[in-house]
């Protein structure tokens, strides 16, 4: 019993860390540009498929190569998508709803392209590190440890980027006051695109990490989109610290509900907790209106 509970806690921590990485990406883009990205889940699957493609090329079998190749690809892709699809809509006064629609169209396009290109069958990725560590009855695989370290590392890199680099500081400036940032000469359009690109990388890396434990399927991203969305709303949209706490709380909740009641109840439990929180604190745990 105790071993089982510890297992559940560990799986909650590991899922929570990857969710944190993805939810922080979603909250970052919402906080900076107020755009909501419905295709977020499709970028998750894209990460998984990219990893699968790179690993199935015969001469490469290291995850290091996957990250070196996939991260710049996702970065460029995210940047181009923002420039081509979202940026032209910003001039309109009903752009928020238009952005939701265009990204929903993009999600449909990408998901079904995966289905045609890669087939409907699920793809599995090899584990990043074989073997496991055991103390008595209780076993933790190295894979889980690496996933945890990599996703926490990703969040720390983002933190360093936002706090200590010039581009990161301009991202924060635009988030706080878009008009003011433009007056002092920060290229607002570039910052929007850069933020979109960074969030694409974060969810793509989340896809590469989680795809080893679960599988890559064409429509698997919807689940991730909804979960990241719930986490961001629970933590407060636009608040990075809030999403971080929310990801671990909800990752833990998911693990326990899934273990005790079955996976069918996970989404229902997540939404019940979210609704209760929003009824008391409509702005989420740490969010601010506006």
């Amino acid at each position: 019993m105790i071993v089982e509970i510890i297992d559940v806690i560990i799986s909650g921590m590991i899922n929570g860390s990857v969710y944190a990485l993805m939810a922080v990406g979603l909250t970052l883009i919402y906080g900076v540009s107020k755009a909501f990205n419905f295709a977020y889940g499709s970028f998750y699957s894209m990460g998984g498929y990219l990893a699968w493609l790179i690993l199935s090329a015969a001469f490469i079998n290291s995850y290091l190569v996957v990250f070196i190749l996939a991260v710049p690809m996702l970065l460029i892709l995210g940047f181009l998508i923002e420039k081509m699809l979202v940026a032209p809509l910003r001039k309109r006064d009903d752009w928020e709803i238009k952005v939701m629609m265009i990204t929903l169209g993009l999600a449909l396009f990408l998901d079904n392209s995966y289905q045609v290109v890669f087939g409907a069958r699920m793809k599995s990725l090899p584990s990043i590190l074989e073997g496991s560590y055991s103390v008595g009855e209780f076993i933790i695989s190295y894979q889980d440890i690496v996933i945890f370290i990599l996703s926490i590392g990703g969040i720390l890199i983002l933190r360093w980027f936002l706090n200590s680099t010039r581009t990161g500081m301009s991202v924060r400036a635009v988030a706080q006051n878009p008009a003011g940032a433009q007056i002092v000469g920060i290229p607002k359009e570039f910052v929007f695109s850069a933020t979109f690109a960074i969030s694409t990388v974060m969810v793509g890396v989340g896809g590469i990490l989680l795809a080893q434990k679960y599988f890559v399927t064409p429509t698997g991203g919807w689940d991730i989109l909804v979960k990241s969305w719930v986490i961001t709303a629970f933590g407060g949209m636009g608040s990075i610290r809030g999403s971080l706490y929310a990801a671990f709380i909800l990752g833990m909740l998911e693990a326990f509900v899934g273990w005790y009641y079955g996976m069918n109840w996970v989404l229902i439990a997540l939404f019940a907790v979210l609704l209760a929180t929003l009824a008391i604190r409509p702005q989420g745990l740490m969010g601010k209106w506006g």
Binding site: L89, D94, E96, I97, G105, L110, A233, M237, L267, I268
Partner: protein, 326 residues
């Protein structure tokens, strides 16, 4: 657009639709598509009302449609209520659930509302498939396979004779369109316009955002549930497959083509979308890709939809007004 132009456009649209059975009445396939078009045109108009006019980012329209169809099927089967009444009861069930969802929702803003309403959509499938759903008779993942066909005063509408079915749905669609038009052009619609343009100012003048938004939530989910019930009795079998992303996006394309917040547009949009969808069906799995690409291109190229185009070609009396405003 003013009331006269709106009514004129509606008359033209429904006039054309109304005489179509004269030409295609004998072709079952086309009649079936026309009925489906009418059904979706009402759902799309409801979505347009709530999203385009009231400015609430509700993504739960398909969920209310499914709730209505399940409710009507279960009520008519379990309590042997004639379908014509069970459809209304289904509307009331959907409307009540709409109020239930709306109450917490309307305290929230923008993307949060989208999340909560989309959440209703997402959790509906596990609920309908799970133990709770099976207990109230949803048939689990198999769905409900035998639903009584529609009948009025002893006359049973059968799926072999689609023309009467078509006209029944035609009348229903006209009634729904008129209700929506009345809402848009009444005090109600003006309140939404005021709230959208200057929320603080309107609230100070005594326009209650919460009351009006809750009312529109209830009304649209009632109408959507009602049409959902009709759909269930028309098609004869329902399952949770309706909750997939395919239908959801198709419904959205109708709005994009018709123009968001441009009322009769959604009706035109639904006819165009369903026709394109049917034409693309030989392409198999490439069809959703094309639909997705279509959404992207249409949002970029034609942001105001068909009605935007019509307004550009026939500017009418509103041109002067528009110029002074801009």
């Amino acid at each position: 657009m003013d009331l006269k132009r709106n009514l004129l456009l509606l008359t033209i649209i429904y006039g054309i639709i109304g005489i179509l059975p004269l030409f295609f009445g004998s072709t079952q396939f086309i009649m079936h598509i026309l009925i489906i078009c009418l059904i979706w045109s009402v759902v799309a108009s409801c979505w347009d009302l709530i999203m385009g006019f009231a400015g609430i980012f509700s993504f739960g329209q398909v969920a209310f449609f499914v709730i209505g169809s399940y409710a009507s099927a279960i009520i008519s089967a379990k309590f042997s209520v004639p379908p014509i009444f069970s459809v209304f009861l289904a509307g009331i069930v959907a409307g009540a659930l709409g109020i239930l969802v709306g109450l917490p929702c309307l305290k929230l803003k923008g993307a949060y509302i989208a999340l909560v309403t989309f959440a209703v959509h997402m959790i509906l499938e596990p609920i309908l498939k799970g133990d709770i759903g099976r207990a109230i008779g949803t048939g689990g993942s198999r769905g409900i396979l035998t639903i009584e066909p529609m009948n009025i005063f002893g006359y049973t509408f059968s799926s072999s004779q689609l023309v009467p079915y078509f006209y029944l749905m035609f009348i229903l669609a006209i009634i729904c369109s008129l209700i929506i038009l009345m809402v848009i052009k009444s005090h109600w619609g003006n309140a939404f316009l005021a709230l959208k343009d200057a929320e603080v100012f309107a609230t100070c003048l005594g326009v209650s955002a919460f009351k009006y938004k809750l009312m529109v939530f209830a009304l649209t989910s009632f109408l959507t549930g009602l049409i959902g019930g009709f759909y269930a009795h028309y098609v004869g079998m329902i399952s949770t497959r309706m909750l997939g992303t395919d239908l959801f996006v198709t419904l959205m394309i109708m709005l994009v083509i018709g123009g968001i917040g441009k009322f009769p547009g959604a009706i035109i949009g639904s006819f165009i979308t369903i026709s394109i969808n049917e034409m693309l069906s030989p392409l198999g799995s490439y069809r959703p890709i094309i639909l997705g690409a279509m959404v992207i291109i249409l949002v970029l190229m034609m942001p105001d939809g068909i009605i935007g185009l019509i307004q550009k070609i026939f500017p009418g009396r509103n041109r002067e007004e528009a110029r002074t405003i801009s």
